[in-house]
Symmetry: D2
Amino acid sequence: MPLLPEQIPHKMLSQDAYSTWLGIEILECEIGRCKVGMTIRKDMLNSMNKAHGGISYSLADTAFGFAANTHGKYAVSIETSINHIEALDEGDYIVAESVIENVKNKLGFNIIEVKRGEELVALFKGVVYRTSKSWEEND
Amino acid sequence: MPLLPEQIPHKMLSQDAYSTWLGIEILECEIGRCKVGMTIRKDMLNSMNKAHGGISYSLADTAFGFAANTHGKYAVSIETSINHIEALDEGDYIVAESVIENVKNKLGFNIIEVKRGEELVALFKGVVYRTSKSWEEND
Amino acid sequence: MPLLPEQIPHKMLSQDAYSTWLGIEILECEIGRCKVGMTIRKDMLNSMNKAHGGISYSLADTAFGFAANTHGKYAVSIETSINHIEALDEGDYIVAESVIENVKNKLGFNIIEVKRGEELVALFKGVVYRTSKSWEEND
Amino acid sequence: MPLLPEQIPHKMLSQDAYSTWLGIEILECEIGRCKVGMTIRKDMLNSMNKAHGGISYSLADTAFGFAANTHGKYAVSIETSINHIEALDEGDYIVAESVIENVKNKLGFNIIEVKRGEELVALFKGVVYRTSKSWEEND
């Protein structure tokens, strides 16, 4: 049986070892939108003692992948870009949310904001390729 | 005393907890160029049992940061983008290398190729902002 | 005398030969935001009889430049990216508007939506470098 | 009859009103690669008396589109990004060339360098969606 839109990100997270390592939690999700959060840990820092760029990217990429898959089809990321606006410290809690979304037949487009409280810390844009395979209960 | 170009990435890696978690090793480095490699582990996979997009991004971002800092100034990433060309599996060894580089006064520009053997698996483009702070031996 | 935020895009357009060739008009502007529109002409089409990608890019880039300069400093584009979502035909009227904006000391970040009526046809993300030179009446 | 790879960009240019307005000429082309050039004119300048960002973008986008179509299928641009490295003046002759290319079943990936003489002035990255329609002599 096909999964409901809001069930898909939860199923995805339960099978996603890396997002689990990051400590990502789903805060909200509905069709076309997903909001996820995590805390920056010491093992996520770079040589300048700030969160590695790969960390905020990964949170945004997970929000993006979750949002793009709520439409029911397996959607895989083709192209993504991120502006790093503010450096992040150990202990910061950051939230990523898809704020603009557009879906065509084979492609999907999203803008993801990453925030620390009310402050915008990164801006992410992504494109997915939508396959014909559906998310089913027994995947 | 200022560090030599090829010393800077080694110093950076020794202080970079996340790149250490990723298992990144420096294969080659010289001024303006750095080549790094790592193996995809089980805890780096996503819900589709492939490497999370954040993993190949992070390797490329580390290669980018290392290359951009070999010029001696602290350089911080502003904008990066990545094309995900091939999905990656547990056990794959991937290498990221800066293949095009351009440095201006305050900005630096790089293209990074991510390969699995001879196969191009991702293409990354990045811009750094170059601060006036130098890498010194006792940083 | 420094110009007011909403005067800057009008001054810029009056000095911008290419935006004038495109037929760009300023629909709204205020500090941090600018909305511009234009009609696709026959001499803007590509080999597939659709608007060349450079046309929607150029409109978005103008909206971006205008918005980023309303803060009073000369701001120059460093990095921009665009998703082409819908093909555009001769006669289409398209509007570009900065919908997300963030300004730091030396950098500015914007998301620009390009629409045909209510339909999103392109998504643009850009970063500017903000110089120390101000827009003055007698520039 | 299908066109030969090197014939396709010439056919595309002959039907491309905007690239013709830009004064683009094809310097070299072969399968997977195309090199095009043009001169910056007065009507291509922005409010700062430099080439509008849309001009170097458009040249790169044409080089990209031409290279991506040499494989024989209609290929349409999905996502593109450009770093503006050097400002360009009236009279400058600029050349854009696809220097890295990768083709998958439905997608193609390219890096385009834009140069003024030997100097790198912009870096462009693009993704195309490859349709199933072929370029034929009587298109």
